[in-house]
Amino acid sequence: MTIDGGTFARRVRSERWRLRARRLRSTLHQFGRERAGVLGVIIIAVFSICALVPDLLVGPFETVTKASGESFEPPSFQHILGTDELGRDILNLVVHGARISMTIGLLATIITVLVGAIIGIVAGFLGGRVDTFLMRITDFFLILPTFVLALVLAPVLREVLGESAQVGGIRITLLVIIVVIGITSWASTARIIRSQTLSVRERAFVDRARVIGASGGHMMRRHILPNVTSLIVANAVLVFAGSVLIETTLAFIGLGDPLAPSWGQILAFAQDSGAPGLGAWWYTAAPGVCIVLVVLSFTLVGNALDAILNPKLAGRR
């Protein structure tokens, strides 16, 4: 039997996809047995729906001029979660807040993981002086109190860029928060990815690729990256949880955007209006519970993925 080059390449490709599908199925199957992880996925799905179609669920975003109730109304049938100091429905605010909080979390995670993974893979693969240099920088960012840095960076960046500008439909104030979270939290991702890269680099298939003359970039993309992808995903899930928490804190101390209220910003409104002291518990409770649920869910999913990736550890539990 003779095989021409094109058919052979096609067969290799289809075989590769078949293997990938099988690996994914087996991972999903394993994940299905992690009950806490599955619970996390369900909660994340609910909040993702809130973030995708808030208008369908609770109607258009209520503003100061379009408030639907009196000030500080406790929960009732009309306002299930009560109202804020301006008479806005809190359920409405919280569901619309999901979009803002989760978008910031997602974009910040993408930046963090992208920077962390690239630096980690390059440092681990190239080794030598490049590695020393990159890891020195990483260590600086690990020792630096990143949150304090974020505190200083955010207002300075806003001052430099201007407050009302927009980039790609995202308000600059939100963008600053996203970038600041990214800048300040990539370091631990880089460390984790680097150590995995170091072990993948020593495997035989990398040597084989080098022997047949593959370039460094090719080996990093086709041989190292696929073998650290699962680790990157597991790490990204945990980074997301951290990003939501950092965003919440930054918004709470006044670095958020009052016109695009995330959950943290709603809590800042509550604090500024004196709601906790007035006994308006619903104002504080609703956004806070959302934050806790989302962060908890991502942590549970991250732990479940971790257990699948490190079966040795899972066995001890």
Partner: protein, 345 residues
């Protein structure tokens, strides 16, 4: 402890602080038109004081010891001056070394270093206490959960820790405030002392501060306990799988002895590092918890500085907070080196 290990870590800490200083300088000088704009816009500064400031910060000198030229021929370094000291970066470093952090906007031109010094005590009190409680309770609970993993009490404890870990500190504080201060009225809602109170004896003063301290300290401690107990649990779980624990069991040692002499000391090691690394995040918690309870410490000072765009104050706070975190992680390295001879290389 080897002196080389000590020296290297000290050198690293020093470099990091130098890096923070330069970063601080660049960040605040990159504000448009600053620092002239900032100084001139400050309505609470007199003309004489302004002139003194210009003189002190050497605002007529170049910014950096070298100047970076960007034109169509690319980026080049040019203009190496005759001396390395006639520039603003150097003046800034010298001034900072003399604890001269500039003048605050919001406090009518008071010295930034003085204001920060005043606010440091309450923060240290609040976080020192919270941290100590959290270390004892959190590590104890975590070790117990790891030791009895799989039992009902482990599931309950770990679940609770996870929930605490997922909470923003300030939200926990707001909830405690709503329940115990606004509803039950057991504790005050804000501040460190009752305003306008006359104290018959110093003891009354201490009691008043303690009464105000309960909720903020509880918030800090609870927030940290979740973190520490999770960390300690996984650490204990890992140590339990080590061969020397199996050996100890095989020797027929009592369980309590294994826990105290074999598991506990080894599980504590990673905890020390993690506590140090977490210090950076604790600063974040500190700032928000103080804001919730209007605690007169560095945290509320930071938020006020942010709101009033008091840049000299922010610069000073960034420096002080960074140095304390770097110092803490240096200290943790020392403790680690003392506990574990293997790292002293």
């Amino acid at each position: 402890m080897g002196s080389r290990f000590l020296l290297r870590r000290a050198g690293q800490a020093f470099l990091t602080i130098l890096f923070v200083l330069v970063l601080n300088f660049i960040l605040f000088r990159s504000l448009p038109g600053s620092p002239e704009r900032i100084l001139l816009r400050n309505p609470r500064i007199s003309a004489a004081s302004l002139e003194a400031q210009r003189e002190r910060w050497g605002l007529n000198d170049p910014l950096l010891p070298i100047s970076v030229v960007i034109d169509d021929r690319g980026v080049r370094l040019e203009d190496f001056p005759a001396s390395l000291t006639d520039n603003q970066l150097f003046s800034y470093l010298v001034a900072t070394a003399q604890l001269d952090l500039g003048l605050s906007f919001q406090f009518r031109g008071r010295d930034v270093a003085d204001v920060i010094g005043e606010r440091m005590g309450p923060t240290l009190l609040l976080f020192g206490l919270g941290e100590i409680i959290a270390i004892f309770v959190g590590l104890g609970l975590g070790a117990r959960a790891g030791w009895r993993r799989g039992t009902a009490s482990d599931y309950l404890g770990t679940g609770l820790s996870l929930v605490l870990y997922s909470m923003p500190y300030f939200w926990l504080g707001m909830i405690l405030l709503i329940i115990f201060a606004a509803e039950l009225r057991w504790f005050p809602t804000s501040g460190m002392v009752t305003p306008g109170m006359d104290y018959a004896s110093p003891l009354d003063y201490v009691a008043d501060v303690a009464w105000h301290l309960v909720l903020p300290v509880a918030t800090v401690a609870l927030g940290l306990i979740g973190q520490y107990s999770l960390m300690m649990r996984s650490s204990v779980t890992e140590v339990l799988a080590e061969d020397y624990v199996t050996t100890a069991r095989a020797k027929g040692l009592k369980e309590s002895r294994i826990l105290r002499h074999h598991v506990w000391p080894n599980a504590l090691l990673p905890a020390v590092t993690l506590i140090a690394i977490n210090l950076g995040y604790i600063v974040a918690g500190a700032i928000t918890v103080e804001q919730v309870f209007s605690w007169p410490g560095l945290g509320t000072l930071t938020v006020d500085a942010l709101r009033t765009r008091d840049y000299p104050m922010m610069q000073g706070l960034f420096l002080v907070l960074s140095i304390s975190v770097v110092a803490a992680s240096f200290l943790a390295d020392m403790v680690y080196g003392f506990l574990d001879p293997r790292v002293r290389t």
